[in-house]
């Protein structure tokens, strides 16, 4: 039985034989399952596996990448020849190339607790039971919860193997498990107030309690009953942790090395500048034990490490892979994200907005007139300029209290002004997959409505 790592090594060998200069082979294998229960009945049973290989060749600075899921010797040999041939049509780029050997991870890889052997052993009935417990708790929470889009329990058990022509060859297993539920309550005018909640982790013991996930979704749906539009105003906006995490992901697109070398980020040329308030401290850390985004090496085999991005408001770092680092005269931060079919590209692993020490109730309590944001829709963020304009819903804050639900409004601002106007951060750091944030208050943004 050939291991995934053997296949990756073999692909590199065959590519070299076919005339490749530098090359690396990235193999991703996984078994996945997904079960959905709706209104107490099984709605979906999905189970399958996948194994595919991507080969990147860089010859005299010319790059190509090809992929296949046929892992026979003949197919990999064809893949090697095709990729070497394809690289000939690329332009020669002095910055293209594998990591320096000293940048690569290993030989001893850190143990990051990202593999839970119990997940592969769960039976379908056990998975269905968790989904059922979640949905049942949601539906039982209140008689006004009358419908459900179902609860889904998913698992993924996999391995990543990477080999390159510098002799690097390593693999690591990982697992993930998720539970999600969406329920709704009927409102007037045919509208349904829906809400979802979820838990997305590496291992079963970290997964939130299914009944608690269900109750949270139900409560959030009920919270939106009677939601209305409000008048256009410039006011403080308090981001609940999930929304602060969403804001952080918008900002992450401005911190990537690919946006930087293209000048397609409003942060270009502003290293060392104080942009955010003193409350803005942001880091990326792929080495957090058990972290949803943790991994021992990046998509090019580079050793991962913690990277500070903002320190008390000052921009102090970006996320790089080898190519974008060389283009900008910096060093890789081990941030290469990679899929089998694509070239590496820098992105965050576990992104955190540092918490403060104020209770979230006090953050809301200090607002006389403003918006408490619980939902964002759309992709209205422009990283080049920092212009942000998102569909929004939540609550109106009156005299420090959540007064009534709000929907069909928009929040807008410019990211640099938003960061400078962060005037409170909560003590309630919460993880949503691989992004964590506390409650955050922004002193002023435009809320567009009537």
């Amino acid at each position: 039985m050939t291991s995934n790592l053997d296949i990756a090594r073999r692909a590199v060998e065959l590519a070299r034989r076919a005339g490749a200069g530098q090359c690396d082979a990235y193999l991703a294998a996984y078994d996945e399952s997904e079960v959905t229960v709706r209104l107490g009945e099984t709605e979906k049973l999905i189970e399958a596996g996948s194994r595919a290989l991507g080969l990147r060749v860089i010859t005299e600075g010319r790059t190509a990448v090809c992929s296949t899921s046929d892992l026979s010797e003949a197919a990999i040999e064809r893949l090697a020849r095709d990729t070497v041939e394809l690289a000939r049509i690329s332009g020669s780029d002095q910055y293209a190339g594998l990591p320096e050997p000293s940048e690569l991870a290993g030989p001893a890889l850190p143990s990051l607790q990202i593999y839970d052997e119990r997940l592969g052993a769960l039976t379908t009935d056990e998975k269905l039971q968790m989904a059922l417990d979640c949905e049942t708790a949601a539906l039982a929470f209140d008689p006004r919860i009358t419908n459900s889009d179902g609860a889904t329990f998913g698992t993924r058990v996999g391995e990543v193997a990477l080999a390159n022509s510098h002799g690097f060859a390593a693999a690591y297993p990982s697992t993930s498990v998720s539970l999600m539920v969406e329920v709704m309550a009927n409102d007037t005018d045919g509208k349904k107030r829906n809400a979802y909640w979820y838990s997305d982790e590496r291992s079963l013991h970290r997964l939130a309690d299914p009944a608690e996930v269900g109750r949270t979704a139900a409560r959030r749906a009920l919270d939106q009953l009677g939601a209305r539009k409000v008048a256009t105003k410039q006011v403080p906006v308090v981001f609940e942790p999930m929304m602060a995490a969403r804001l952080l992901r918008d900002l992450a697109s401005c911190l990537s090395g690919s946006a930087l070398y293209r000048g397609a980020t409003f942060l270009a040329g502003r290293d060392g500048e104080r942009i955010g308030s003193a409350l803005v401290t942001i880091t990326d850390d792929p080495t957090i034990p058990g972290g949803r985004g943790s991994r021992p090496f990046d998509g090019e085999g580079v050793a991962t490490r913690r990277t500070p991005l903002f320190e008390e408001g000052t921009l102090c770092g970006f996320l790089f892979d080898c190519y974008t680092a060389r283009r900008t005269g910096r060093a890789t931060t081990g941030s290469a994200q990679r899929g089998v079919e694509s070239l590496p590209s820098p992105g965050p692993a576990n992104l955190t907005f540092a918490p403060g020490n104020v209770a979230p109730e006090a953050i809301v309590g200090a607002v006389a007139d403003g918006l408490y944001l619980t939902s964002i829709i759309g992709h209205g963020f422009n990283p080049t300029t920092g212009d942000l304009s998102h569909g929004a819903a939540g609550f109106w804050i009156e005299n420090g209290r959540l007064a009534f639900p709000v929907s069909e409004v928009n929040v807008s601002g410019r990211m640099d002004a938003i960061l400078a106007a962060v005037d409170a951060t909560g003590d309630d750091l919460t993880w949503f997959g691989s992004t964590a944030a506390p409650t955050i208050r922004v002193r002023e943004m435009t809320v567009s409505g009537l």
Binding site: A64, I89, K192, R262, G378, N410
Partner: protein
Amino acid sequence: MSNPATTSLALFADQYGVDTAVMSSLLSAALAHGGDFAELFFEHRVETGISWEDQKVKAASRNVAQGVGIRVVRGDAIGYAYTESLEIDAMRRAAETAGRIGRAGERPVPVDATPASVANSCYSAAHPLTGVPAPEKVAILERADRAARAYDPSVARVDCSIADELKHVLVARSDGRVVGDVQPLIRLNVSVLSDHNGSRQTARTGGGGRLGMEYFERVTPEDAARDAARQAVLLQSAVEAPAGTFPVVLAAGDSGILLHEAVGHGLEADFNRKGTSMYSGRTGEPVASPLVTVIDDGTIQGSRGSLNVDDEGNDTRRNVLIEGGTLRAYLQDEISARHYGVTPSGSGRRETFKHYIMPRMTNTLMLPGESHPEDIIRGVEKGIYAVSYSGGQVNISNGDFVFSLTEAYLIEHGRITAPVRNVTLIGNGPDVLSRVSMVGSDYQLSDGRWMCGKDGQSVPVGVGMPTVLVSGITVGGTSVG
């Protein structure tokens, strides 16, 4: 000229030994524990791409994928499995896995798989871009680069790419129907950065469809590149967009995103049979202004959203969703159609063989009306003229939807004046559609650039619109008062 259905049958038979006997046997295995129906979805997909940056080819790529997805349906529940290996043992295991949705003890169903012909012919795979020599594609990118840079001295970066795909599909169903298709798809993307004394703006355009190189004769790389450059340069003089509710004139073409978000998703039958859409139970009711007729048509020649046959083997067709403001029909896949007791509308789609079927849109468009486009703008005292978009999103339960503008202008006293910075519009489906107060006579189909996401599955779609006036929609700007 070869028939795509027979071409596809031949590929899977010759390369993988998948013939009708194998298909019948797998379908029977899938239904061994019963079920209402089952299908096998075979797919062989080749994708090639060339990207261009810094006035040269950045990278070239080629991805080949194949496999089969097997679905068993019992009521509205599904069992699903897939395998990348088209070896008989792997496929049989997948069929058995999918069959677990059935109830043990039910009797197996014998299946006689028989190839059928496909009525539609919306595209030709005779000369797909996947087979065109790289230098011809590189020449297209070179022309785009040159045209963008020549447009204005502030153009500092031109990043572009050509992506193309050729997909052979074969659907084998437990009712015996076997249909195949060969589906080409191409897309040119151009992204331009304008740097004017340190002020940077980017803009993107894209286009293509189920076409070959002939696309570039109709829409030249120079057209695409100049449009991206023009938008990037225009944004340099953009002012802050107003905040609040204003009349918005939507230009013909890509504004069809309005339909996609305001009603399209909400009319997908799965949401409606589950009662989770705000359009549930509303067939026969007014849901839009009487000026509004919305069609979803999977048969438009060469369009990105078109299919000869949908991904569960049903013929695609032209479906009237809203007629003169009245809700007429939902987009029906097989499961939903059985629930409602109607004919499937050819709306069953999946992203790849790894994904299950859901009702999806194809090309969603509004029929033109009577008004002159110039009159529509002239009638607005203060508002927005919206031309290009980056995308949108909808919550089908409460009906709130957004779309984000990348090229838009102020309308002041009936005239188009200053360009505005990127901004998002938000509205509520039925409310916004009831505020459609003028519909122009100038219908346009979008160029092939749109991707639709639902439940983690992306599929290519088209949209089309005439110029339309919406009397009030919320503009998420930053300029108040």
